[in-house]
């Protein structure tokens, strides 16, 4: 049943010490859809993406990527995930081509050279493929990070504020790439603070507030309203469950 969704999250909870961040969170992202995830600073967007990318273990709940349970079928799920984080995940003394070839080997990709070249060309880094990463600008490093994330053609792309550090052309390139990605039946979940951009790139928008997701319909005004009307309490407060889950 869950194989019908790219991402399925049920009853997800995560706390840092006694501070609950995500609370009884449910989410589904169908195949071929891009989900834009909004939220104030500290709302838990990055934590949610890090749980989806298997970097962080949830305290409770189930998460499935392409039908694979993240806790029980971790390696299989990881093969189906591509991640663009705040940092590039690249080695600065290697070139983008060497970095991608390295990751291609780790993912067991057989036609490495062609795939690496295609990924670098796709993000417009073909001409800088053989320069060391430390010699590239932040925007170019971000492009290289995107190339690394799409290299193994994952079914689910997870991007944490992917527009940060990108110029207008790079943003357009990324928008086109995400549109291609979902048109091919793959899925995307990304966080952003840019409401216009999020609505342009995403098929659906969600606002993370009070540890849960709300799905306000409509446009930027509804999103803005949902962001500003979020609960002032900590997630789960007033529900009589803090003593059960708060310290986990």
């Amino acid at each position: 049943m869950n194989a019908g969704y790219a991402i399925t999250v049920e009853g997800l909870e995560k706390s840092y010490r006694d501070w609950p961040v995500l609370w009884n969170l449910d989410l589904t992202v169908p195949w071929g859809e891009a989900l834009a995830l909004f939220g104030a600073n500290g709302a838990g967007k990055t934590t949610l993406l890090r749980i989806l990318s298997t970097s962080v273990r949830p305290d409770a709940g189930t998460v499935r990527i392409a039908g694979r349970d993240l806790l029980r079928q971790t390696a299989e799920a990881r093969r189906r995930i591509g991640v663009v984080g705040h940092r590039s995940f690249l080695y600065e003394d290697l070139t983008p081509r060497e970095n991608l070839t390295y990751y291609a080997r780790l993912y067991g990709i057989s036609d490495r050279e062609a795939r690496v070249t295609a990924a670098l060309e796709r993000v417009g880094l073909g001409s800088r493929a053989n320069h060391r990463v430390r010699a590239l600008s932040n925007g170019m490093q971000k492009r290289a990070a995107i190339a690394r994330a799409i290299l193994h053609r994952p079914g689910v792309l997870l991007l944490d504020e992917p527009e940060a550090g990108l110029d207008r052309d790079s943003r357009r390139m990324l928008g086109e790439l995400l549109a291609e990605w979902t048109a091919a039946g793959r899925s995307v979940a990304f966080t952003t603070h840019d409401i216009e951009l999020g609505l342009a790139w995403g098929h659906r928008a969600a606002v993370l507030t009070g540890g849960r997701l709300a799905f306000p319909g409509g446009g930027a005004t509804d999103i803005q309203q949902a962001l500003s009307s979020g609960p002032s309490t900590r997630p789960g407060e007033g529900e009589g469950r803090m003593s059960d889950g708060g310290g986990r």
Binding site: S55, R78, I81, G85, R87, S88, F89, L94, Y102, L106
Partner: protein, 224 residues
């Protein structure tokens, strides 16, 4: 097995390429080791014939210090641009990641020791060409690499990693140093070959134990 050894070899090769380009680990540790032997020589001023008695202890103190410096760098490169997180969200097993890092550290340490040994041999008047010394170096360095890599991963997550690593590292490797000094004593003339097999066996058992324990603990260390 191919899914394990293939990525492992790739990660080791990457560390070697990075080291060849940056030269920030092996060269600086060799320089440190050479400075140490000069300091030992001036501080202890061994009389003729005395050097042999001091040689095994000084050699292994120097190697252990050098290992601490080298291990401190083991996970720094992985953390610079979040590359460790990139590795952890890849399908490569935590065991393969740990063993690759340990193997790279083992290779770098052997290079450092190979460079330092002739200098220590010349200063402390012993022959660096000895199979017992070679066996002690291989077994002790393997133990240093396994334990050092684990504690380096642990220390890299703390703010006081430069202090944390030696504080954790030295108490655990003390049995290895004792055994290595005992084995090396026969080769440097600072001891006898008595009980050599027993010491080598102790080092082998120590390594085998940590070859199992360290990768297992590592998976918890890197878990957020």
């Amino acid at each position: 097995m191919k899914d394990f050894l293939g990525p492992m070899a790739t990660m080791v090769w990457k560390d070697i390429v990075l080291e060849a380009r940056s030269r920030e680990l092996v060269v600086s540790v060799i320089v440190f080791g050479l400075l140490l032997v000069v300091v030992f020589n001036f501080a202890l001023r061994p009389a003729p014939g005395q050097a042999a008695a001091l040689a095994p202890g000084l050699l292994w103190v120097a190697f252990a210090f050098a290992a601490t410096l080298a291990m401190n760098r083991a996970f720094i490169r992985e953390q610079e641009a979040g590359a460790l997180e990139g590795l952890l969200v890849s399908p490569v097993s935590r065991d393969a990641i740990f063993l690759a890092k340990a193997a790279a550290s083992f290779i770098f340490m052997l290079l450092v020791e190979a460079a330092l040994l002739p200098a220590y041999g010349a200063m402390l008047e012993f022959s660096a060409l000895s199979w017992t010394l070679g066996a002690a170096i291989l077994l002790a360095t393997l133990g240093f690499a396994l334990i050092g890599t684990l504690f380096s991963a642990l220390a890299a997550q703390t703010r006081s990693r430069e202090i944390m690593l030696p504080v954790l590292f030295f108490p655990i490797i003390t049995p290895l140093i004792i055994a290595a000094v005992a084995v090396s004593g026969g080769a440097t003339g600072g001891g006898t070959f008595t009980g050599l097999g027993r010491w080598l066996l102790l080092m082998g058992v120590f390594d085998a134990l940590f070859l199992v324990i360290c990768p297992w603990v590592f998976s918890f260390v890197v878990e957020d």
